[in-house]
Subunit: 659 residues, 2 copies
């Protein structure tokens, strides 16, 4: 991997050097490779029965002149193919597959054929609105789409060594670099939907071309400057939006929604569309890292703190409202109307990984783990063919149907969506999972996630082969073993293991003997002359925990959530009966791990609760002065991430607590 980083800055490892073998995660990773990638290819080709058509391949064929027809789908429909290619690139890095590579190569030829002479590439603008390039950055996701092309190209290049798509991406990036910038004759614009910025940093890493880093920096720094480019552009095109053609708008577009209301360095709180926000923060962290920019890092940390300590759900999801798929404001975290888009948690993981490179602090790993184990995997069904965009904290299926304010809250995972951002985003994240397990610099290997895997890496000047074994998330044992060290030369290096904040009692052993590593900022460091066969083990505390919320978080007052290890739990109607709102968890109840009749590997939780019901003489009325009748009831909780995989029904994360 061509990362150009200072020796001391930890970076993710080359995917090709990591082989995931994990009793929990392998099934997800295999699902992506064996089911999701092939299924999504069918979807991109409009061959999934009863699902909304993607139009993606068709659009490229039309743009390339291979067939006639009209553009279909959203402005950014191309990204579905690009994200698929990105996932394929990651997958091929670890699991070579000539058949899949052949299909992908053909798709890449199609992409290349759709590129114009001058490097421009976007089927919406080529087919549907030729001549309107770069006139509506606010609405049309033109740079966003370019960003996904670049991310796909870089991943495919790393995975296969092939430069065909990378060359296409470079030509487009060069075209953009010519058109946009601070110089006379250039546009000082940036996209309504951030994404190109982080992609350009990847392109810089892959090519060593500093122009790409500078362009990313320009796009980030220009954002939110006065006079506001996006507002001026809107004025220029007659105050219209591509989302509501022909209507002259009274008010200018809302800049906080696009994180363009002030320069990014001055932004204090997370606002607007959640995915855009975290993609931007990721690029900011990338730039802080590449450029050693301390004040940009400060801005990143300020925004991180706001997101994590004021605007994040307990499942690591973000976006309190479906109106604009957006953040709202501090402590506003309603459970039954939240958006909590799967893509936004993926973006939060991107951001956390960059911060972990900048500063190996456990809090970043904790959030990364929380989002990954709970929300990202909740986004995908066990069959790999059904997805959640929205990850509610509470579901009443009748309200999802019958209350328009909750129509976005789906009670069951859906097939392919018209706006299919989440499914391929899950695929690209899970197929590059290795990038999140470890980072390393010259003399320290950080383990952030306990996901069983083998890896090779140069540490302390020696090529080291390591194997990580983990029983997570069902039990708390993990061990990292030095399987082999290539060179005979001696030298020390450190293995740093993340100590999750949820583990209240953590024990370590080295080669079977208890050991007390140095704990710093949530990581346990063992530095020594590691020898082949050495093994450091960690025993995490898997005692189920009650989680309480800050009192400003009004929606959770008097309520409790459950967590065991990294997994947040939920109550489902299928285990507990409806209405779930009538149930409470006894404050003094033990929380007992329990077997699941459904899946032998899954640890359920069992506890003592109370059900409220109305007195018999008041069943026909809404209100009455007689207190509810209380009946003891055993409650069962299921890992949140697995909810909705059995019978459809109600779901609840935050349950009332009673005495």
């Amino acid at each position: 991997m061509a990362h150009r980083v200072a020796a001391q800055i930890p970076h993710p490892l080359d995917l090709r050097s990591i082989r995931i073998q994990d009793s929990y995660w392998s099934s997800y990773v295999d699902l992506i490779r064996q089911t999701v990638i092939p299924y999504q290819w069918e979807a991109l080709n409009d061959r999934v029965p009863d699902a909304e058509p993607s139009h993606a391949i068709k659009n490229f064929r039309i743009a390339a002149g291979f067939e006639k027809g009209e553009f279909g789908g959203f402005f950014f429909q191309d990204t579905d193919l690009y994200k698929w290619l990105e996932a394929v690139g990651y997958s091929l890095a670890t699991h070579p597959d000539p058949d899949l590579e052949k299909v992908a190569d053909e798709a890449i030829e199609l992409v290349a054929a759709a590129q114009l002479e001058d490097g421009y590439l976007n089927t919406y603008f080529t087919v549907a609105v030729p001549g309107q390039r770069w006139t509506n950055l606010l609405d049309c996701h033109e740079m966003y789409t370019a960003g996904h092309l670049i991310e796909g190209a870089v991943a495919y290049y790393y995975g296969t060594g092939k430069t065909r798509l990378l060359d296409v991406a470079r030509r487009f990036a060069d075209h953009i670099d010519e058109r946009f910038g601070p110089n006379p004759g250039q546009l000082r614009g940036y996209d309504g939907h951030q994404e190109l910025e982080l992609a350009l940093v990847k392109l810089y890493e892959a090519t060593n071309e500093p122009r790409y880093l500078e362009l990313a920096s320009f796009l980030i720094e220009e954002r939110g400057q006065e006079p506001n480019y996006l507002v001026a552009e809107w004025e220029k095109r007659g105050r219209t939006s591509a989302w509501a053609p022909g209507i002259v708008q009274k008010s200018p577009p809302h800049m906080p929604y696009h994180q363009a209301h002030k320069p990014v360095r001055e932004q204090e709180v997370a606002s607007g569309h959640a995915v855009r926000a975290v993609y931007m923060y990721t690029a900011m962290a990338d730039l802080a890292l590449k450029k050693g920019d301390a004040s940009l890092l400060e801005a990143c940390k300020r925004l991180w703190n706001n997101v994590v300590n004021k605007q994040m759900y307990v499942n690591g999801s973000i976006g309190s409202t479906h109106h604009g798929e957006a953040f709202t404001f501090d402590y506003d975290l309603p459970n039954d109307t939240n958006y909590s888009e799967t893509c936004a948690s993926i973006g939060l993981i991107f951001f956390a990984r960059r911060l972990l490179q900048l500063e190996p602090r456990g809090e970043y790993g904790d959030v990364m783990e929380r989002a990954l184990y709970n929300t990202v995997t909740a986004g995908i069904a066990g069959d790999g063919k059904h997805y959640f965009y929205v990850n509610p904290m509470e579901v009443w299926p009748a309200a999802s149907e019958g209350n328009p304010g909750k129509h976005h809250v789906k009670a069951v995972r859906q097939k392919w969506y018209g706006c299919a951002c989440c499914p391929p985003n899950v695929a690209r994240l899970l197929s590059s999972l290795g990038h999140y397990i470890y980072t390393a610099n010259e003399d320290t290997l950080y383990t952030h996630l306990y996901i069983g895997s083998e890896t090779k890496h140069s540490l302390g000047g020696r090529q080291v082969t390591l194997s990580l074994k983990s029983s997570m998330p069902w039990s708390g044992h993990a061990s990292l073993k030095v399987e082999a060290i290539e060179s005979a030369a001696t030298g020390t290096f450190a293995l740093a293991l993340r100590v999750p904040s949820w583990s209240k009692n953590t024990a370590f052993s080295l080669n079977g003997q208890p050991v007390q590593p140095i704990i710093k900022d949530g990581y346990a460091y063992v530095t020594r002359e590691w020898q082949a066969g050495d093994e450091i083990s960690i025993e995490l505390d898997m005692t189920p925990q009650r989680i309480y919320s800050h009192s400003q978080l009004r929606a959770n007052a008097g309520r409790v959530a459950l967590q065991r290890g990294p997994l947040v739990y939920a109550f489902e109607e299928t285990d507990n009966g409806a209405p779930l709102a009538a149930l409470s968890l006894k404050r003094d109840s033990e929380i007992r791990p329990a077997a699941s009749e459904w899946r032998s590997d899954v640890v359920m939780l069992e506890m003592d609760g109370v059900r409220l019901a109305e007195p018999a003489d008041r069943i026909a009325s809404l209100y009455g002065d007689a207190p509810p009748v209380e009946t003891p009831q055993k409650l069962i909780a299921v890992p949140y991430t697995l909810w909705g995989n059995r019978k459809p029904g109600e779901m609840l994360v935050w349950i009332r607590e009673s005495r």
Copy 2:
């Protein structure tokens, strides 16, 4: 009053025979007369500074040819003037006021001048879209507007004896009667917004013209029949909506929203726009009454039961969602996103009054009282110049500002609205309050509401003067005294007093001696040869009560509301501090009436509660495993109807209950 009803059917009394003198209600009634009616006249003339213009008078002036200009406001802007004239009519009935009458007469001349030769009258259609009459009943409220003209005209006729506006209304009604009906050449249409139906029944009562009753019946019975008129009309005009001109719609309009999805007699549950629904139910009850139609009465009772026992808030408000200002479905009563429009509670009062005529049952009076004492008066500020459309059960001002799903929930009452339906609706209801206090037939006077007043009425063949004295809602004593009986002839009649369901212990006395009246269906009947000076007294139980909800009402699980007499209570930030969600009421706490520092007449409630807060080491984070710290706190509750009259802040009706 020219009611033509069978002798045994109780009817409301002539407003001119009722004089309200009540320590609680007189201030509201005076406020309407002295402040609201003059203020609204200023508003109708666009003379209220900083308020949205009404356009109403201006539209009529343009339509009448008195000035040039463009139509302003909504399709139904005329109704603001009509509802004002209705309120003026009621006011003049009890409080003659030559100056006000002169202003009103001039406004009536303006209305008359805007009427066309053929009787048609609607300034939107005359000024803005001439030639489009009766082509979009679905969207344009054309009959709705006619209905308010008629209601205004009838009220003004009863209040002043003048027929000028009544004649205008009749000419328009005749025009509609010609155009719509079951005969060849007539349109089988009905309005998207019900209102004309109940108005035509009033016109029938005022004029004895049976055609108006039959037209009302036609409109009610035709509604929801197949083929659906409103859908066919939409097809005919190219599948467009007047609310989004130029856009061809993919789906036909949603008929349940308009209560036109099936014939009204077959409707089982309340659906759609709440005001339209209850206006329709009112007309259905009117027709059931006038025509002695038992099956229509059955439909009314079925819908009443659904509203009251499945879809009504504890403050007597309806409409669970702002999307379409509508009902949602059974037991879906969210507290923080409800609509609960003031107008809808007014319509519910209309419906209840008709049912009380059909069957004097306490449950109808209970709901009428609940809606009136809690929601209707909550809609208007103490200054008579600020109003709530939406009556939330829970307010977090920051969320009203910062969460788009709660923008409709206003934390403070607003000045005049662009769509100003509620303020004049409150005015017309409160200025006709007498219509809701009593109904009577030949030998029974029913007292439904304990609102101090004097009245004269013929009972048992004798002209009887009665005075009702009441200390409600602050204490529970009321008495009804026969002040005078005109004729010397003897004869019995009954005085029936409603026994509110909230009064768990009710005592009666006759001329100071305890008495046990016959209690039937929530009314206490005392039948005797009443003499001048006789007095029946009722002592209602004002013990504060806890109210619990049905367990299917998920939003209120584990919560309790408070009621004392007819008043539901709420907690405000100004008394209790924020966040209110952190507070709970102790199950074993006494609920103590308490004095208010704010208003000496108001009874507050005081009780023992608990505040939750996070441990000191966790103030900066959202979540943690340490249980919240509990601190005892005295809680203060204010009558819901008076909330938001002091410092702006949070408000909460349903508080958590703790042990």
